[in-house]
């Protein structure tokens, strides 16, 4: 790049020294082009006129030449026709045939026509020929007539005379042909030479005009192209931002005017460039400031389109960094975010979430939101700018949020632990109450058992005594009158019936007391071989009566399906009884619970099924209660877990059952449930108990304590 002062000072003198082009340069462009076109047109018209005149001249002479050759042709034809005429007239004299005469007449007519055409060229010769032809024809016809009339001698005389005329005609025609031929060939020679001359002249003219045209075109072309090139270079330089580029001198023609315009443009462009640089500097300063902020920064215009965003913001939302460009709308950014991470919309449909965010953005009030983006938490502060745009600042508050969550988590855990402890305490109290109740029940039952034995035994004895009495009194009674006898017999029967009832109910009371004792017995139960079906049957009865005892309106359909081959198993019958009782009581409870708010068609039912399975047995307890939801199923075997209201359950039943089945008997306890349909507890037991350490055979207490740990 040359310094402007040097280039300008060089350009001006150069323009002055090129005097030839300077003169041409003073003429306007249109005048130069018109002159060039006019010169072309003039030479075109001039040469055309020359060629046209030469062509006309040649054409005239050619026409004349053609006419002469036509005359030659006609003369030749006349000669030939005369030959025919001679032939037919001679033939006529010999043959006397009319056809020869007709041919002769036709030949003569044709000859006359030829002579008519030749008359224009050489009338004198033609007149002479005509008279000779006439003389010949008439003499020859005279000869033919003489022959026809049989006058051979006269015919010969006429024919000899005709021969003289014929030769004259022949000579004259020959001479005419030669004369015309010579003239025609001379004319042709002239035409050929003339055409050659014209062609040569045409070549010279074309060459001269072409040279002049090329020189003129070159001069005009150069006077246009040269300045045009310099202007083009200058414009190209300016376009590239080179304001020191050389601008051609400002002459008087159109190029001078363009150069002037270009110089003004250069001055304006230089000023604008300076202003742009200043503006750019300011923009850079602001940009640097925005970039240095530790938070994400975005400036939106009044149409919610990004004007400016710092790299921290792009870093925060690196997944959609490519979208964050000046001009992108807030809506598009939200759409990109929700597309990249649909979770941020929460439960809302994506479109609705975007609408809410856009509406929030439009809120003219200053807003502060905390939002989660994947693993990050952001605080988004938005303020409206005076021109209706928005400034958004994104602060990463993830760490703060994490700490907050940790504190809350710790607090919740402590609260939960406290609640658990309180619950456990309540249950322990309840369990203790139940244990005391058990002991009390055992004591009462034991005390009741002895008097009950008396009642039973004396009732039985009284029955036997009444029987003996009846035998003894049989005769005396027969002696009594009818009424007395009937009364006596009736009294005896009624007394015996009463005794039977006493005995019956006494046995029932004894059974209940036995069960009470069984249920409240402490210490390890004894290991025995017992029928599974019997245990299950007894447990079902106990569960039913127990439920009836608590709620007299309770009723349930019990469907038993006891397999005969279930047979005996080695087990701890009392503990197993406790397990079955527990499962069946739970089933009845669930079914009765459902009855309370079920429709009319619902019939609470419990199914108890036993079967032999391989080396063991299986008992299935199924109810059609409300079922067990999955989250409850997970925790159901945990100690102190219960869904029953406080006071109704200890939360130990299933836990204990689990321990008894799995740990004490080496069996399996499985649960299957469909909420709203059914629940099945399935107990699998081996027929022979696995060998076990004595201390591992748990008591109810130890199982409960184990559950607590």
């Amino acid at each position: 790049m040359t310094p402007p002062a040097t280039s300008l000072s060089e350009a001006r003198p150069r323009a002055e020294t090129r005097s030839g082009f300077a003169r041409l340069g003073a003429v306007p462009l249109w005048a130069r082009l018109i002159t060039l076109t006019a010169a072309g047109l003039i030479s075109l018209i001039g040469s055309s006129m020359f060629f046209s005149s030469a062509l006309h001249q040649t054409a005239d002479r050619t026409t004349k030449m053609k006419e002469l050759f036509d005359v030659v042709g006609t003369a030749g034809e006349a000669h030939v026709t005369f030959g025919k005429l001679r032939y037919w007239l001679t033939d006529l004299s010999v043959s006397l045939l009319v056809t020869s005469e007709r041919s002769a007449i036709a030949a003569r007519e044709k000859l006359e026509a030829n002579l008519d055409r030749l008359a224009g060229y050489d009338p004198e010769t033609v007149t002479e020929i005509r008279s000779e032809v006439e003389a010949y024809f008439s003499t020859a016809m005279d000869a033919a007539d003489a022959y026809t009339d049989g006058n051979r001698v006269i015919g010969n005389t006429f024919l000899a005379s005709a021969r003289g005329h014929s030769e004259k005609v022949d000579d004259a025609l020959n001479g005419l042909v030669e004369k015309v031929s010579a003239a025609a060939f001379a004319e042709r020679q002239f035409v050929v030479e003339n055409a050659d001359q014209s062609a040569r002249a045409a070549v010279y003219i074309v060459v001269i005009l072409s040279v002049i045209g090329i020189v003129l075109t070159f001069l005009v072309f150069r006077s246009i192209v040269h300045p045009l090139h310099r202007l083009n270079d200058a414009i190209a330089g300016l376009m590239q931002g080179n304001f020191d580029v050389e601008i051609p001198p400002e002459g008087d023609d159109e190029f001078g005017a363009m150069a002037r315009t270009l110089r003004l443009f250069r001055e304006n462009a230089a000023e604008r460039s300076r202003l742009e640089e200043e503006s750019e500097r300011q923009r850079n300063t602001i940009s640097t400031a925005v970039e240095t902020i530790s938070d994400g920064f975005v400036l939106y215009d009044r149409d919610a389109r990004v004007l400016l965003a710092n790299s921290k913001y792009r870093e925060m939302f690196s997944d959609i960094a490519s979208v964050i460009q000046p001009g992108t709308s807030f809506r598009d950014i939200m759409a990109a975010q929700v597309e990249t991470d649909p979770a941020i919309a929460g439960s809302l449909p994506a479109e609705q979430w975007i609408e809410e965010r856009v509406a929030r953005h439009r809120d003219p009030q200053d807003t502060v939101d905390e939002r989660r983006y994947g693993d990050l938490w952001m605080r988004i502060s938005k303020r409206q700018t005076p021109d209706g745009g928005k400034v958004a600042v994104y602060t990463d508050i993830t760490e703060m949020k994490e700490r907050e969550a940790e504190i809350i988590g710790t607090r919740d855990a402590a609260e939960a632990a406290l609640a658990d402890l309180q619950k456990a305490q309540k249950r322990l109290v309840q369990a203790e109450k139940m244990a005391s109740l058990g002991q009390l029940t055992a004591g009462i039952a034991h005390e009741i058992k002895n008097p009950l034995n008396f009642v039973n035994n004396f009732a039985k004895l009284s029955d036997e005594l009444l029987e003996e009495l009846a035998e003894i009194l049989a005769e005396p009674i027969k002696a009594l009158d009818k009424d007395s006898r009937e009364d006596a017999e009736d009294l005896l029967a009624t007394a015996r019936e009463n005794l039977v009832k006493i005995n019956e109910h006494g046995k029932r009371a004894d059974s209940i007391v036995k069960n009470m004792l069984l249920h409240s017995r402490e210490g390890p139960s004894e290991r025995r071989t017992t029928g599974l079906n019997a245990i299950a049957e007894e447990a079902l009865n106990l569960a039913y009566h127990g439920a009836r005892a608590e709620d007299s309106s309770f009723n349930i359909e019990m469907i038993r399906s006891m397999a005969e081959d279930a047979g005996d198993i080695e087990c701890y019958p009392q503990d197993l009884m406790r397990v079955f009782l527990n499962l069946m009581s739970n089933g009845m409870y669930a079914a009765s619970k459902r009855t309370a708010n079920a429709d009319a068609g619902y019939a609470p039912t419990i199914w108890v099924t036993t079967r032999s399975v391989g080396n063991g047995v299986e008992i299935e307890v199924r109810d059609n209660g409300g079922g067990i939801p999955p989250d409850v199923r997970e925790k159901i075997f945990l100690p102190f877990f219960t869904t029953k209201p406080a006071g109704e359950g200890t939360g130990l039943g299933l836990s204990l059952s689990y321990d008894i089945v799995v740990k004490q008997h080496g069996g399996e306890l499985a649960l299957e449930s469909e909420p709203g349909e059914f629940t099945i507890f399935r107990v699998k037991l081996p027929r022979i108990l696995p060998p076990m350490e004595p201390q591992n055979a748990p008591s109810r207490q130890s199982a409960a304590e184990g559950g607590l740990q």
């Binding site: 006529l92 006397l96 045939l97 009319v98 056809t99 005469e101 033919a144 026809t148």
Partner: protein, 269 residues
């Protein structure tokens, strides 16, 4: 060369071989003669004798032509030398044809001296023409010899004129456009009859014309008998017009039924 056989016959098969010697023909000519009388009313009475000899001469000429026509194959045979086609033979055969057509010989019955002389002159001319041309007729190695019915008729008529030219003339002529030999060109009287009678649209076909008039400055009975083209004529005179026939002459382009020629007879009074 059968095509020449019927040259000069009345045209068409409707009147096969009809000749003037038939009784019907005779009566027709009688009517024609009366008509002819009517046409020349006041000048001279038509004579039955003139009409009669005219017809006889014409019929005999036709018979001779027929013989020449029928003998063309023989005459034009290049293999045979002496063909024994003599004047005597021709006359004999011609008379036989005449008798067959007319019922009696031309010279039979009552004839005037002049008529007998004329018929005998014609027969003599026929004999002489054939005999004079024996060398040509018997020439070996040449096919077509040009001794055709038309030439024969012309030569016979010329010989007839030489023998009896002071009493009568017989010619065969035709309208000028049909004439081939200049010697057969019609004279002005004949030309006039062609134009006003024979070529008129209402002239009955085949009807002869006769008139008492002058010929070569002497009173004469003139008679014209038109003859029409038959199929066999057209080989030389038919179409296409201008094509050359066997004699080398261009055909006239005639059709069956067109006027072909006219036998012209002059009987000096």
């Amino acid at each position: 060369m059968k095509r020449y056989r019927s040259f000069g016959r009345l045209r068409s098969n409707r009147r096969p071989d009809s000749t003037n010697s038939r009784p019907v023909g005779w009566s027709m000519y009688l009517v024609a003669g009366v008509l002819g009388f009517a046409l020349v009313a006041g000048r001279a009475a038509a004579r039955d004798g003139d009409l009669d000899i005219g017809n006889k001469l014409a019929d005999m000429l036709r018979a001779g032509r027929n013989v020449v026509s029928a003998s063309q194959t023989l005459i034009n045979n290049p293999e045979i030398g002496d063909k024994e086609f003599t004047g005597e033979k021709l006359v004999r055969e011609a008379e036989a044809i005449y008798v067959k057509r007319a019922g009696s010989a031309p010279t039979a019955g009552d004839l005037s001296d002049r008529d007998r002389r004329l018929l005998e002159a014609q027969i003599q001319a026929m004999r002489k023409v054939v005999d004079e041309h024996q060398a040509d007729i018997n020439r070996q190695g040449v096919g077509f010899k040009g001794f055709i019915p038309a030439i024969f008729a012309r030569l016979v008529n010329e010989e007839f004129e030489a023998i009896a030219g002071s009493d009568a003339r017989v010619r065969v002529t035709a309208p000028p456009e049909l004439v081939r030999n200049r010697k057969a060109r019609p004279d002005p009287w004949e030309q006039n009859i062609f134009e006003t009678k024979f070529l008129a649209a209402d002239w009955p076909e085949g009807k002869p014309y006769s008139e008492l008039t002058e010929f070569e400055g002497k009173p004469a009975f003139r008679m014209l008998l038109p003859e029409y083209y038959r199929e066999s004529c057209l080989a030389c005179h038919g179409e296409p017009k201008g094509e050359t026939d066997i004699t080398g002459y261009p055909k006239e382009g005639g059709k069956v039924g067109d006027l072909g020629c006219v036998i012209s007879i002059v009987i000096f009074q």
